[in-house]
């Protein structure tokens, strides 16, 4: 198995506040990797580090073995990393199809076959292709956001808390969507708050605490690990 994405001892933050202290993480081909941890552990920050949205003070990020540390986001996209932010991830005034077309902005070849694939993957989007994306339900908006990212046929997809703020019904929808995408061969790195469900579909998971690695293991291992609960609710430390 080859490592698609690798974070090697990455440190960094915003301004002079360091949030990540030497994070190690990797995603292998075909995997779903989930990052969990208590609030403020630096999960989303770690994802932004991959996408060049953070100034890294140490460490490196490699994509397929190529160093992409501190590459600006627009170039990271071109290298095949797609990132779906937690909020503000669709163009609300554009139609569903236009959102997907924008996802292919940097492509110069014919993207229609990929568009067709995405409609096959998410039939509801085909139905609503002409509707403004902002009028869709929460779950379908996330589908648009992910579909938009997939238009580039990325080497890896980064998802930042795709189920945040969604009701349990939609959550299930999102997790099965993630699985569908993965089944199509796209490795996924996602940050999730709903650890149980996320670990349920994950190949591996990382637990971050205070900007450092804490535990790593398969999804099931982590779910059964009693220390994980303590990390969230304290009492185990101090």
């Amino acid at each position: 198995m080859s490592r698609v994405l690798e974070l090697d001892a990455v440190s960094g933050g915003y301004g002079d506040t360091e949030i990540l202290h030497g994070i190690n993480m990797h995603v292998e081909a075909g995997e779903i990797v989930v990052v969990i941890g208590p609030n403020g552990a630096g999960k989303s920050t770690a994802m932004k580090a991959v996408f060049g949205l953070l100034n890294l003070t140490a460490g490196s990020v490699r994509l397929d073995g190529v160093d992409i540390t501190n590459t600006p986001p627009s170039d990271v996209v071109k290298q095949g990393v797609c990132y779906v932010p937690q909020t503000n991830n669709i163009f609300a005034n554009l139609s569903v199809e236009e959102n997907l077309e924008m996802g292919a902005f940097v492509r110069n070849d014919d993207y229609r076959p990929q568009l067709e694939k995405i409609y096959q993957m998410f039939p509801p989007l085909r139905e609503k292709r002409q509707q403004a994306a902002g009028d869709l339900s929460g779950g379908q908006r996330q589908m648009v956001a992910m579909g938009k990212a997939l238009m580039l046929e990325p080497k890896i997809l980064l998802l930042d808390e795709p189920t945040a703020g969604l009701s349990p019904k939609y959550r299930g929808e999102i997790f099965s969507t993630v699985r569908t995408i993965n089944a199509a061969g796209v490795p996924i790195l996602m940050v999730e708050q709903n650890a149980k469900q996320a670990l349920g579909i994950a190949d591996r998971g990382y637990v971050l605490v205070d900007g450092s690695n804490s535990v790593m293991g398969t999804g099931q291992d982590l779910l059964n690990n009693p220390n994980v609960g303590e990390l969230f609710l304290g009492g185990g430390r101090a």
Partner: protein, 253 residues
């Protein structure tokens, strides 16, 4: 002291807070915890008047204050701090504090021209008060430093200092320990306890440092999915399987 009844806030289709009810008793340090997206900060924003609730009531000392603007909340004695410090970067630490006291005569333009003695006297008093606060927080040496030059932790202390410049009754602290090194967290914890004991503030704090919550707060309110999941001591909370489940995102809570 403060009772929140069936508070709701919807953003478009998103229900950030839904039928949330709890109360905060006078003289307590109440902890507000819960997973990300549970609606804690949204609830704070509504109590502090930055957001108008979609529906529901906020009763403060018996009066419904839901929907009043921030400065009205402030004048009733509700003061908040921010998770990301809102310091006035180009102003000195002292000025940051001196800005806060309400109803300063010098805030009326004409008083500055026509009754300067009153203004100057109050300025002196306000400065004394600010210096006392700086002493209390042991950052007096930073008095004339621009607030923008402070470290993250010092800015957090300054946030706390601002609450000391008011006739606050209820102080809402949004993650006072976030992004602060462990030594300073202990210090902030100590300050909060002392402010409660010495000045009689009632606190409500959002925090993810469970040790801080455990040491300071009784009771602890757990929010999930925009509503209150449970209330009790930190030990109760730790023991309750529903809480861990909410944090780990089990099926519908």
């Amino acid at each position: 002291m403060l009772t929140v009844e069936n508070l709701c806030k919807h953003f478009g289709g998103l229900q950030a807070v839904h039928n949330c009810s709890f109360s905060i008793a006078e003289g307590t340090i109440t902890g507000l915890i819960g997973p990300n997206g549970a609606g804690k900060t949204t609830t704070f924003n509504m109590i502090a008047g930055e957001l108008t609730p979609t529906s529901g009531q906020i009763l403060f000392e018996g009066e419904n204050i839901a929907g009043l603007p921030t400065h009205e909340m402030f004048h009733r004695g509700i003061v908040r701090t921010f998770q990301i410090p809102h310091e006035l970067a180009q102003m000195t630490v002292l000025e940051n504090l001196m800005l806060v006291p309400p109803a300063q005569p010098g805030e009326r333009l004409w008083s500055n021209w026509f009754s300067r003695a009153t203004v100057n006297n109050r300025e002196k008093a306000v400065m004394e008060q600010a210096e006392d606060a700086l002493d209390f927080l042991s950052i007096y040496h930073l008095r004339d430093e621009l607030a923008g030059n402070l470290s993250g932790g010092q800015k957090k202390l300054l946030e706390l200092g601002r609450t000391m410049m008011t006739e606050a009754k209820l102080v809402l602290l949004d993650e006072p320990g976030a992004g602060v090194n462990p030594t300073l967290v202990l210090k902030i914890r100590d300050m909060i306890q002392r402010l409660k004991d010495e000045r009689g503030y009632t606190f409500c704090l959002i925090e993810h440092d469970m040790d801080m919550i455990g040491a300071l707060c009784d009771p602890v309110i757990v929010m999930a999915e925009g509503a209150v999941l449970m209330e009790g001591t930190m030990d109760d909370v730790r023991r309750d399987p529903r809480v861990l489940d909410a944090y780990l995102g089990g099926e519908a809570a």
